[in-house]
Protein backbone atom coordinates (compact mmCIF):
# COMPACT_ATOMS: atom_id res chain seq x y z
CA UNK A 1 0.00 0.00 0.00
CA UNK A 2 2.76 2.40 0.99
CA UNK A 3 4.50 1.64 -2.24
CA UNK A 4 1.52 2.47 -4.39
CA UNK A 5 0.84 5.70 -2.54
CA UNK A 6 4.48 6.69 -2.85
CA UNK A 7 4.53 5.93 -6.55
CA UNK A 8 1.44 8.02 -7.12
CA UNK A 9 2.95 10.90 -5.21
CA UNK A 10 6.15 10.63 -7.20
CA UNK A 11 4.38 10.64 -10.53
CA UNK A 12 2.31 13.59 -9.39
CA UNK A 13 5.45 15.53 -8.50
CA UNK A 14 6.93 14.61 -11.86
CA UNK A 15 3.88 15.88 -13.73
CA UNK A 16 3.88 19.07 -11.66
CA UNK A 17 7.57 19.68 -12.36
CA UNK A 18 7.07 19.07 -16.10
CA UNK A 19 4.19 21.54 -16.19
CA UNK A 20 6.21 24.15 -14.30
CA UNK A 21 9.14 23.61 -16.66
CA UNK A 22 6.89 23.98 -19.69
CA UNK A 23 5.34 27.18 -18.33
CA UNK A 24 8.78 28.63 -17.58
CA UNK A 25 9.91 27.70 -21.09
CA UNK A 26 6.90 29.41 -22.64
CA UNK A 27 7.26 32.47 -20.44
CA UNK A 28 10.98 32.70 -21.17
CA UNK A 29 10.40 32.37 -24.90
CA UNK A 30 7.68 34.99 -24.81
CA UNK A 31 9.89 37.34 -22.83
CA UNK A 32 12.85 36.83 -25.17
CA UNK A 33 10.84 37.41 -28.35
CA UNK A 34 8.70 40.20 -26.86
CA UNK A 35 5.41 38.67 -27.82
CA UNK A 36 2.59 41.11 -27.41
CA UNK A 37 -0.94 40.13 -28.16
CA UNK A 38 -1.85 43.79 -28.20
CA UNK A 39 0.28 44.08 -31.35
CA UNK A 40 -1.50 41.10 -32.81
CA UNK A 41 -4.98 42.47 -32.21
CA UNK A 42 -4.10 45.94 -33.43
CA UNK A 43 -2.43 44.31 -36.44
CA UNK A 44 -5.28 42.05 -37.52
CA UNK A 45 -6.81 44.77 -39.73
CA UNK A 46 -3.46 44.92 -41.54
CA UNK A 47 -3.70 41.21 -42.38
CA UNK A 48 -7.14 41.76 -43.83
CA UNK A 49 -6.02 44.75 -45.83
CA UNK A 50 -3.09 42.68 -47.16
CA UNK A 51 -5.53 39.93 -48.07
CA UNK A 52 -7.85 42.48 -49.65
CA UNK A 53 -4.94 43.72 -51.77
CA UNK A 54 -4.60 40.18 -53.05
CA UNK A 55 -8.15 40.05 -54.39
CA UNK A 56 -9.09 39.63 -57.11
CA UNK A 57 -6.26 37.36 -58.32
CA UNK A 58 -4.65 38.37 -61.59
CA UNK A 59 -6.02 35.49 -63.66
CA UNK A 60 -4.16 36.47 -66.81
CA UNK A 61 -0.94 35.96 -64.92
CA UNK A 62 -1.46 32.18 -64.81
CA UNK A 63 -0.20 31.99 -68.38
CA UNK A 64 2.97 33.85 -67.59
CA UNK A 65 3.93 31.76 -64.56
CA UNK A 66 3.36 28.38 -66.21
CA UNK A 67 6.95 28.27 -67.48
CA UNK A 68 8.56 28.92 -64.08
CA UNK A 69 6.08 26.51 -62.49
CA UNK A 70 7.20 23.73 -64.87
CA UNK A 71 10.79 24.61 -64.05
CA UNK A 72 9.97 24.20 -60.35
CA UNK A 73 8.52 20.74 -60.98
CA UNK A 74 11.55 19.87 -63.08
CA UNK A 75 13.88 20.90 -60.24
CA UNK A 76 11.92 18.67 -57.88
CA UNK A 77 11.93 15.68 -60.27
CA UNK A 78 15.64 15.83 -61.07
CA UNK A 79 16.70 16.64 -57.51
CA UNK A 80 14.66 13.78 -56.08
CA UNK A 81 15.97 11.38 -58.73
CA UNK A 82 19.63 12.25 -58.17
CA UNK A 83 19.07 12.16 -54.42
CA UNK A 84 17.38 8.76 -54.70
CA UNK A 85 20.21 7.30 -56.77
CA UNK A 86 22.92 8.70 -54.49
CA UNK A 87 21.09 7.46 -51.42
CA UNK A 88 21.38 3.77 -52.42
CA UNK A 89 25.02 3.24 -51.33
CA UNK A 90 24.41 5.24 -48.15
CA UNK A 91 21.33 3.14 -47.34
CA UNK A 92 23.36 -0.06 -47.67
CA UNK A 93 26.20 1.41 -45.62
CA UNK A 94 23.87 2.56 -42.84
CA UNK A 95 21.95 -0.68 -42.37
CA UNK A 96 23.12 -2.85 -39.54
CA UNK A 97 22.08 -6.10 -41.23
CA UNK A 98 23.87 -5.38 -44.52
CA UNK A 99 27.11 -3.76 -43.43
CA UNK A 100 27.52 -5.68 -40.14
CA UNK A 101 30.47 -3.53 -39.05
CA UNK A 102 29.74 -0.73 -36.55
CA UNK A 103 32.78 1.10 -37.89
CA UNK A 104 30.88 1.57 -41.14
CA UNK A 105 27.25 2.03 -40.23
CA UNK A 106 27.71 4.46 -37.34
CA UNK A 107 29.72 7.00 -39.39
CA UNK A 108 27.29 6.63 -42.31
CA UNK A 109 24.35 7.37 -40.02
CA UNK A 110 26.20 10.27 -38.46
CA UNK A 111 26.71 11.84 -41.89
CA UNK A 112 23.04 11.26 -42.68
CA UNK A 113 21.99 13.03 -39.48
CA UNK A 114 24.28 15.94 -40.29
CA UNK A 115 22.77 16.29 -43.76
CA UNK A 116 19.26 16.30 -42.39
CA UNK A 117 19.92 19.16 -39.96
CA UNK A 118 20.71 21.65 -42.74
CA UNK A 119 17.64 23.47 -44.05
CA UNK A 120 17.21 23.18 -47.83
CA UNK A 121 17.10 26.93 -48.29
CA UNK A 122 20.54 27.21 -46.74
CA UNK A 123 21.83 24.44 -49.01
CA UNK A 124 20.46 26.31 -52.00
CA UNK A 125 22.08 29.53 -50.82
CA UNK A 126 25.42 27.70 -50.65
CA UNK A 127 25.02 26.26 -54.16
CA UNK A 128 24.00 29.55 -55.80
CA UNK A 129 27.53 31.05 -55.74
CA UNK A 130 28.83 27.85 -57.37
CA UNK A 131 26.29 27.37 -60.17
CA UNK A 132 25.11 30.92 -60.47
CA UNK A 133 21.50 32.03 -60.21
CA UNK A 134 19.30 29.38 -61.82
CA UNK A 135 17.83 25.92 -61.48
CA UNK A 136 21.12 24.00 -61.23
CA UNK A 137 21.68 25.28 -57.68
CA UNK A 138 18.14 24.31 -56.79
CA UNK A 139 18.58 20.80 -58.19
CA UNK A 140 21.75 20.31 -56.16
CA UNK A 141 20.09 21.56 -52.98
CA UNK A 142 17.10 19.25 -53.50
CA UNK A 143 19.47 16.36 -54.28
CA UNK A 144 21.27 16.68 -50.96
CA UNK A 145 18.04 17.32 -49.08
CA UNK A 146 16.18 14.32 -50.49
CA UNK A 147 19.23 12.12 -50.05
CA UNK A 148 18.84 12.74 -46.31
CA UNK A 149 15.12 11.95 -46.21
CA UNK A 150 15.13 8.88 -48.47
CA UNK A 151 18.23 7.32 -46.92
CA UNK A 152 16.95 7.77 -43.38
CA UNK A 153 13.57 6.21 -44.08
CA UNK A 154 14.90 3.46 -46.34
CA UNK A 155 17.71 2.20 -44.12
CA UNK A 156 15.17 1.67 -41.36
CA UNK A 157 13.11 -0.37 -43.84
CA UNK A 158 16.19 -2.39 -44.80
CA UNK A 159 16.85 -3.17 -41.15
CA UNK A 160 13.29 -4.45 -40.76
CA UNK A 161 13.44 -6.99 -43.64
CA UNK A 162 12.97 -10.72 -43.19
CA UNK A 163 16.39 -12.33 -42.53
CA UNK A 164 15.23 -15.72 -43.88
CA UNK A 165 16.06 -15.21 -47.60
CA UNK A 166 19.36 -13.62 -46.63
CA UNK A 167 20.39 -16.65 -44.58
CA UNK A 168 19.31 -18.96 -47.37
CA UNK A 169 21.45 -17.06 -49.85
CA UNK A 170 24.46 -17.13 -47.55
CA UNK A 171 23.91 -20.87 -47.13
CA UNK A 172 24.02 -21.52 -50.89
CA UNK A 173 27.16 -19.43 -51.21
CA UNK A 174 26.03 -16.17 -52.80
CA UNK A 175 28.56 -13.37 -52.92
CA UNK A 176 27.81 -9.97 -51.37
CA UNK A 177 26.54 -8.39 -54.60
CA UNK A 178 24.20 -11.29 -55.38
CA UNK A 179 23.16 -11.25 -51.75
CA UNK A 180 22.14 -7.58 -51.90
CA UNK A 181 20.59 -7.83 -55.34
CA UNK A 182 18.46 -10.92 -54.78
CA UNK A 183 18.00 -10.87 -50.99
CA UNK A 184 17.66 -7.21 -50.02
CA UNK A 185 16.44 -5.33 -53.09
CA UNK A 186 13.22 -7.30 -53.77
CA UNK A 187 12.18 -6.87 -50.15
CA UNK A 188 12.66 -3.09 -49.95
CA UNK A 189 12.03 -1.93 -53.54
CA UNK A 190 8.38 -1.02 -52.87
CA UNK A 191 9.28 0.82 -49.66
CA UNK A 192 12.05 2.66 -51.45
CA UNK A 193 9.69 3.80 -54.22
CA UNK A 194 7.16 4.93 -51.64
CA UNK A 195 9.77 7.01 -49.78
CA UNK A 196 11.00 8.35 -53.10
CA UNK A 197 7.53 9.63 -53.94
CA UNK A 198 7.09 11.01 -50.43
CA UNK A 199 10.37 12.92 -50.79
CA UNK A 200 9.15 14.16 -54.18
CA UNK A 201 6.00 15.61 -52.56
CA UNK A 202 8.09 17.44 -49.98
CA UNK A 203 10.50 18.62 -52.66
CA UNK A 204 7.83 20.19 -54.86
CA UNK A 205 6.84 22.32 -51.91
CA UNK A 206 10.46 23.09 -51.07
CA UNK A 207 11.30 23.96 -54.69
CA UNK A 208 8.62 26.66 -54.65
CA UNK A 209 10.53 28.72 -52.08
CA UNK A 210 14.04 27.91 -53.32
CA UNK A 211 13.88 30.78 -55.77
CA UNK A 212 13.93 33.07 -52.79
CA UNK A 213 17.70 32.74 -52.65
CA UNK A 214 18.04 32.61 -56.44
CA UNK A 215 17.98 28.85 -56.97
CA UNK A 216 15.49 28.81 -59.83
CA UNK A 217 11.82 28.05 -60.20
CA UNK A 218 8.78 30.09 -59.37
CA UNK A 219 10.24 31.45 -56.12
CA UNK A 220 12.25 34.13 -57.94
CA UNK A 221 9.09 35.61 -59.44
CA UNK A 222 7.28 35.25 -56.14
CA UNK A 223 10.03 37.20 -54.44
CA UNK A 224 9.95 39.96 -57.10
CA UNK A 225 6.19 40.30 -56.88
CA UNK A 226 6.29 40.50 -53.08
CA UNK A 227 9.05 43.09 -53.18
CA UNK A 228 7.10 45.23 -55.65
CA UNK A 229 3.82 44.85 -53.68
CA UNK A 230 1.92 43.27 -56.61
CA UNK A 231 -0.20 41.24 -54.22
CA UNK A 232 -2.83 40.19 -56.75
CA UNK A 233 -0.05 38.45 -58.67
CA UNK A 234 1.33 36.96 -55.46
CA UNK A 235 -2.02 35.32 -54.81
CA UNK A 236 -2.07 33.97 -58.37
CA UNK A 237 1.28 32.29 -57.80
CA UNK A 238 0.14 30.91 -54.44
CA UNK A 239 -3.10 29.54 -55.91
CA UNK A 240 -1.22 27.98 -58.79
CA UNK A 241 1.18 26.32 -56.36
CA UNK A 242 -1.69 25.04 -54.24
CA UNK A 243 -3.31 23.43 -57.27
CA UNK A 244 -0.10 21.84 -58.56
CA UNK A 245 0.92 20.57 -55.12
CA UNK A 246 -2.56 19.17 -54.53
CA UNK A 247 -2.54 17.30 -57.87
CA UNK A 248 0.95 15.91 -57.32
CA UNK A 249 0.11 14.82 -53.77
CA UNK A 250 -3.06 13.13 -54.96
CA UNK A 251 -1.28 11.15 -57.68
CA UNK A 252 1.66 10.28 -55.45
CA UNK A 253 -0.66 9.15 -52.64
CA UNK A 254 -2.59 6.90 -55.02
CA UNK A 255 0.62 5.29 -56.29
CA UNK A 256 1.96 4.87 -52.76
CA UNK A 257 -1.25 3.17 -51.66
CA UNK A 258 -0.83 0.69 -54.51
CA UNK A 259 2.84 0.10 -53.73
CA UNK A 260 2.51 -0.89 -50.08
Amino acid sequence: MMDVAKKRQLSRIKTLLSVIFLLLLLWGSGYRTQVSFQDLFSGIPNIFSALADMLPPDWGYFDYVTGPMLETIRIAILGTTFGGILSIPIILLSSRNVTRSPFLFYPARFILNLIRTIPELLLAALFVPIFGIGPAAGICAITVFSLGIIAKLAYEAVEAIDPGPLEAMTAVGANKIQWVFFGVVPQVAAHFMSYFLYAFEINVRAAVILGYVGAGGIGIILNNMLASFQYNRVITIILYTLIVVAIIEFISNKIREKLL
Binding site: T33, D39, A50, P119, I130, A136, V208, A246
Partner: protein, 277 residues
Protein backbone atom coordinates in the same frame (compact mmCIF):
# COMPACT_ATOMS: atom_id res chain seq x y z
CA UNK B 1 13.85 -24.76 -77.39
CA UNK B 2 11.74 -21.97 -78.73
CA UNK B 3 8.83 -24.16 -79.75
CA UNK B 4 8.80 -25.61 -76.28
CA UNK B 5 8.19 -22.24 -74.60
CA UNK B 6 5.46 -21.43 -77.09
CA UNK B 7 3.82 -24.73 -76.35
CA UNK B 8 4.01 -24.10 -72.63
CA UNK B 9 2.26 -20.78 -73.05
CA UNK B 10 -0.43 -22.33 -75.19
CA UNK B 11 -1.10 -24.75 -72.37
CA UNK B 12 -2.02 -21.93 -69.99
CA UNK B 13 -5.74 -21.25 -69.54
CA UNK B 14 -7.08 -18.39 -71.62
CA UNK B 15 -7.83 -15.96 -68.76
CA UNK B 16 -4.33 -16.36 -67.35
CA UNK B 17 -2.85 -15.59 -70.74
CA UNK B 18 -5.06 -12.54 -71.01
CA UNK B 19 -3.97 -11.33 -67.59
CA UNK B 20 -0.33 -11.77 -68.54
CA UNK B 21 -0.80 -9.66 -71.64
CA UNK B 22 -2.61 -6.99 -69.67
CA UNK B 23 0.14 -6.90 -67.09
CA UNK B 24 2.81 -6.49 -69.74
CA UNK B 25 0.80 -3.75 -71.39
CA UNK B 26 0.43 -1.93 -68.07
CA UNK B 27 4.14 -2.14 -67.32
CA UNK B 28 4.89 -0.90 -70.83
CA UNK B 29 2.57 2.10 -70.48
CA UNK B 30 3.98 3.02 -67.08
CA UNK B 31 7.54 2.74 -68.38
CA UNK B 32 6.67 4.95 -71.35
CA UNK B 33 5.16 7.60 -69.08
CA UNK B 34 8.17 7.59 -66.78
CA UNK B 35 10.57 7.83 -69.72
CA UNK B 36 8.59 10.74 -71.17
CA UNK B 37 8.63 12.60 -67.86
CA UNK B 38 12.37 12.16 -67.54
CA UNK B 39 13.02 13.12 -71.14
CA UNK B 40 11.11 16.32 -70.54
CA UNK B 41 12.88 17.05 -67.26
CA UNK B 42 16.36 16.38 -68.60
CA UNK B 43 15.84 18.39 -71.75
CA UNK B 44 15.08 21.49 -69.70
CA UNK B 45 17.96 20.76 -67.41
CA UNK B 46 20.54 20.42 -70.17
CA UNK B 47 19.25 23.58 -71.82
CA UNK B 48 19.54 25.64 -68.64
CA UNK B 49 22.64 24.08 -67.19
CA UNK B 50 25.56 26.35 -66.61
CA UNK B 51 28.31 26.64 -64.05
CA UNK B 52 29.58 30.00 -62.89
CA UNK B 53 32.89 30.79 -64.59
CA UNK B 54 34.51 31.37 -61.20
CA UNK B 55 32.84 28.39 -59.52
CA UNK B 56 36.21 26.95 -58.47
CA UNK B 57 37.07 30.09 -56.59
CA UNK B 58 33.67 30.17 -54.92
CA UNK B 59 33.94 26.56 -53.81
CA UNK B 60 37.38 27.26 -52.39
CA UNK B 61 36.17 30.36 -50.55
CA UNK B 62 33.12 28.56 -49.15
CA UNK B 63 35.16 25.59 -47.94
CA UNK B 64 37.81 27.84 -46.51
CA UNK B 65 35.18 29.79 -44.58
CA UNK B 66 33.44 26.68 -43.30
CA UNK B 67 36.71 25.08 -42.20
CA UNK B 68 37.82 28.28 -40.46
CA UNK B 69 34.62 29.52 -38.86
CA UNK B 70 34.41 32.89 -37.17
CA UNK B 71 34.55 31.63 -33.57
CA UNK B 72 34.41 35.14 -32.13
CA UNK B 73 30.85 35.47 -33.36
CA UNK B 74 29.55 32.90 -30.85
CA UNK B 75 29.46 35.40 -27.98
CA UNK B 76 29.91 39.08 -28.62
CA UNK B 77 29.36 42.00 -26.30
CA UNK B 78 26.16 43.78 -27.22
CA UNK B 79 24.11 40.64 -27.75
CA UNK B 80 24.12 40.62 -31.58
CA UNK B 81 25.74 37.19 -31.66
CA UNK B 82 25.17 33.57 -32.55
CA UNK B 83 24.05 32.41 -29.12
CA UNK B 84 21.34 35.05 -28.80
CA UNK B 85 20.14 34.42 -32.34
CA UNK B 86 19.92 30.67 -31.66
CA UNK B 87 17.99 31.26 -28.43
CA UNK B 88 15.61 33.52 -30.36
CA UNK B 89 15.18 30.77 -32.96
CA UNK B 90 14.37 28.22 -30.27
CA UNK B 91 11.95 30.61 -28.59
CA UNK B 92 10.14 31.11 -31.92
CA UNK B 93 9.89 27.35 -32.39
CA UNK B 94 8.65 26.77 -28.80
CA UNK B 95 5.91 29.39 -28.99
CA UNK B 96 4.95 28.51 -32.57
CA UNK B 97 4.57 24.85 -31.64
CA UNK B 98 2.57 25.76 -28.54
CA UNK B 99 0.17 27.92 -30.54
CA UNK B 100 -0.33 25.23 -33.16
CA UNK B 101 -0.80 22.50 -30.55
CA UNK B 102 -3.64 24.50 -29.01
CA UNK B 103 -5.14 25.70 -32.31
CA UNK B 104 -5.17 22.30 -34.00
CA UNK B 105 -7.30 20.52 -31.36
CA UNK B 106 -10.66 21.75 -32.68
CA UNK B 107 -9.47 21.04 -36.25
CA UNK B 108 -8.43 17.52 -35.26
CA UNK B 109 -11.88 16.74 -33.82
CA UNK B 110 -13.46 18.31 -36.88
CA UNK B 111 -11.42 16.11 -39.24
CA UNK B 112 -11.72 12.86 -37.27
CA UNK B 113 -14.13 10.47 -38.97
CA UNK B 114 -15.45 8.92 -35.74
CA UNK B 115 -16.32 12.22 -34.06
CA UNK B 116 -19.11 13.27 -36.39
CA UNK B 117 -21.97 11.30 -37.83
CA UNK B 118 -21.87 12.77 -41.30
CA UNK B 119 -19.04 12.01 -43.64
CA UNK B 120 -18.89 15.45 -45.27
CA UNK B 121 -18.08 17.13 -41.95
CA UNK B 122 -14.82 15.25 -41.48
CA UNK B 123 -14.18 15.50 -45.22
CA UNK B 124 -14.28 19.31 -45.19
CA UNK B 125 -12.11 19.30 -42.05
CA UNK B 126 -9.49 17.23 -43.82
CA UNK B 127 -9.62 19.49 -46.86
CA UNK B 128 -9.13 22.63 -44.74
CA UNK B 129 -6.14 21.02 -43.01
CA UNK B 130 -4.48 20.08 -46.28
CA UNK B 131 -5.09 23.59 -47.64
CA UNK B 132 -3.32 25.01 -44.57
CA UNK B 133 -0.48 22.53 -45.06
CA UNK B 134 0.40 23.60 -48.58
CA UNK B 135 0.66 27.30 -47.65
CA UNK B 136 4.45 27.72 -47.25
CA UNK B 137 5.51 29.14 -43.89
CA UNK B 138 7.63 31.81 -45.55
CA UNK B 139 4.55 33.23 -47.29
CA UNK B 140 2.67 33.11 -44.01
CA UNK B 141 5.55 34.91 -42.32
CA UNK B 142 5.30 37.67 -44.94
CA UNK B 143 1.57 38.01 -44.29
CA UNK B 144 2.10 38.26 -40.55
CA UNK B 145 4.91 40.76 -41.01
CA UNK B 146 2.29 42.94 -42.68
CA UNK B 147 0.23 42.63 -39.51
CA UNK B 148 2.67 42.79 -36.60
CA UNK B 149 5.77 44.23 -38.25
CA UNK B 150 9.24 42.75 -38.68
CA UNK B 151 10.46 40.59 -35.83
CA UNK B 152 10.15 37.23 -34.12
CA UNK B 153 6.45 37.58 -33.34
CA UNK B 154 5.60 37.34 -37.03
CA UNK B 155 7.70 34.18 -37.19
CA UNK B 156 5.92 32.68 -34.20
CA UNK B 157 2.51 33.31 -35.74
CA UNK B 158 3.62 31.94 -39.12
CA UNK B 159 4.93 28.71 -37.58
CA UNK B 160 1.89 28.51 -35.30
CA UNK B 161 -0.55 28.63 -38.18
CA UNK B 162 1.45 26.58 -40.65
CA UNK B 163 1.94 23.68 -38.22
CA UNK B 164 -1.81 23.44 -37.60
CA UNK B 165 -2.13 21.69 -40.96
CA UNK B 166 0.21 18.81 -40.15
CA UNK B 167 -0.52 18.55 -36.42
CA UNK B 168 -4.27 18.63 -37.01
CA UNK B 169 -3.92 15.77 -39.49
CA UNK B 170 -1.80 13.65 -37.12
CA UNK B 171 -4.01 14.40 -34.10
CA UNK B 172 -7.12 13.63 -36.13
CA UNK B 173 -5.69 10.28 -37.14
CA UNK B 174 -4.87 9.37 -33.56
CA UNK B 175 -8.44 10.26 -32.57
CA UNK B 176 -9.69 8.02 -35.37
CA UNK B 177 -7.55 5.15 -34.10
CA UNK B 178 -8.64 5.25 -30.49
CA UNK B 179 -10.80 2.72 -28.71
CA UNK B 180 -14.38 3.99 -28.44
CA UNK B 181 -15.67 1.54 -25.83
CA UNK B 182 -14.68 3.59 -22.73
CA UNK B 183 -16.63 6.49 -24.21
CA UNK B 184 -19.70 4.33 -24.76
CA UNK B 185 -19.40 2.96 -21.22
CA UNK B 186 -19.29 6.48 -19.79
CA UNK B 187 -22.24 7.63 -21.89
CA UNK B 188 -24.17 4.55 -20.76
CA UNK B 189 -23.51 5.37 -17.11
CA UNK B 190 -24.83 8.90 -17.64
CA UNK B 191 -21.74 11.04 -18.05
CA UNK B 192 -22.15 14.36 -19.83
CA UNK B 193 -20.17 15.36 -22.93
CA UNK B 194 -17.41 17.15 -21.01
CA UNK B 195 -16.94 14.21 -18.68
CA UNK B 196 -16.68 11.70 -21.53
CA UNK B 197 -14.18 13.96 -23.23
CA UNK B 198 -12.07 14.31 -20.10
CA UNK B 199 -12.16 10.72 -18.84
CA UNK B 200 -12.52 8.62 -21.99
CA UNK B 201 -10.88 10.55 -24.84
CA UNK B 202 -8.14 12.70 -23.31
CA UNK B 203 -6.29 9.91 -21.43
CA UNK B 204 -6.19 7.80 -24.59
CA UNK B 205 -4.90 10.40 -27.01
CA UNK B 206 -2.72 12.51 -24.71
CA UNK B 207 0.55 10.53 -25.08
CA UNK B 208 0.22 10.54 -28.87
CA UNK B 209 -0.67 14.24 -28.88
CA UNK B 210 2.47 15.03 -26.90
CA UNK B 211 4.64 12.81 -29.06
CA UNK B 212 3.37 14.44 -32.28
CA UNK B 213 3.79 17.89 -30.76
CA UNK B 214 7.41 17.12 -29.94
CA UNK B 215 7.94 15.80 -33.45
CA UNK B 216 6.46 18.98 -34.84
CA UNK B 217 8.71 20.97 -32.53
CA UNK B 218 11.72 19.32 -34.19
CA UNK B 219 10.39 20.33 -37.62
CA UNK B 220 9.62 23.86 -36.38
CA UNK B 221 13.15 24.37 -35.06
CA UNK B 222 14.44 23.65 -38.58
CA UNK B 223 11.82 25.94 -40.11
CA UNK B 224 12.58 28.73 -37.60
CA UNK B 225 16.19 28.83 -38.79
CA UNK B 226 15.13 30.14 -42.19
CA UNK B 227 12.26 32.45 -41.19
CA UNK B 228 14.72 35.28 -40.62
CA UNK B 229 15.37 35.38 -44.37
CA UNK B 230 12.13 37.35 -44.78
CA UNK B 231 12.68 39.27 -41.53
CA UNK B 232 10.64 37.13 -39.14
CA UNK B 233 13.32 36.79 -36.45
CA UNK B 234 15.85 34.19 -35.44
CA UNK B 235 19.14 33.06 -36.93
CA UNK B 236 17.96 33.47 -40.54
CA UNK B 237 18.61 37.22 -40.70
CA UNK B 238 22.33 37.13 -39.77
CA UNK B 239 22.61 34.06 -42.02
CA UNK B 240 21.22 35.77 -45.10
CA UNK B 241 23.39 38.85 -44.46
CA UNK B 242 26.47 36.66 -44.21
CA UNK B 243 25.48 34.77 -47.38
CA UNK B 244 24.85 37.94 -49.35
CA UNK B 245 28.06 39.53 -48.10
CA UNK B 246 30.04 36.35 -48.92
CA UNK B 247 31.52 36.32 -45.41
CA UNK B 248 31.90 32.56 -45.46
CA UNK B 249 33.56 32.26 -42.06
CA UNK B 250 30.42 33.79 -40.57
CA UNK B 251 28.25 31.41 -42.64
CA UNK B 252 30.42 28.55 -41.36
CA UNK B 253 29.89 29.34 -37.70
CA UNK B 254 26.15 29.86 -38.19
CA UNK B 255 25.94 26.53 -40.03
CA UNK B 256 27.76 24.81 -37.17
CA UNK B 257 25.45 26.55 -34.69
CA UNK B 258 22.34 25.33 -36.53
CA UNK B 259 23.66 21.77 -36.85
CA UNK B 260 24.56 21.58 -33.15
CA UNK B 261 21.25 23.07 -32.02
CA UNK B 262 19.11 20.86 -34.25
CA UNK B 263 21.06 17.74 -33.26
CA UNK B 264 20.67 18.46 -29.54
CA UNK B 265 16.95 19.22 -29.90
CA UNK B 266 16.38 16.07 -31.98
CA UNK B 267 18.22 14.00 -29.37
CA UNK B 268 16.31 15.37 -26.39
CA UNK B 269 12.96 15.26 -28.13
CA UNK B 270 13.61 11.73 -29.41
CA UNK B 271 14.49 10.55 -25.89
CA UNK B 272 11.28 12.04 -24.45
CA UNK B 273 9.18 10.61 -27.29
CA UNK B 274 10.55 7.12 -26.67
CA UNK B 275 9.34 7.31 -23.08
CA UNK B 276 5.94 8.69 -24.05
CA UNK B 277 4.66 6.10 -26.48
Amino acid sequence: MRTETVNKKALLPKDVRKRLIWRRLKIGVIAAIVILIYAWAFRGFVKDFKINPNAGQSIKAIFNGIIHPDWDYIVEPGGEDLLHALIDTLAIAVLGTFISAVLCIPFAFWAARNMSRRRWISGTGKFVLSAIRVFPELIMAILFIAAVGLGPFAGILALGFHSVGMLGKLFGESIENMDLSPREALIASGANRLQTLWFAIVPQVLPEFMSYTLYRFEVSVRAATILGIVGAGGIGAPLIFALQGHTWDRVGIILIGIIVMVTIIDYISGAIRKRLV
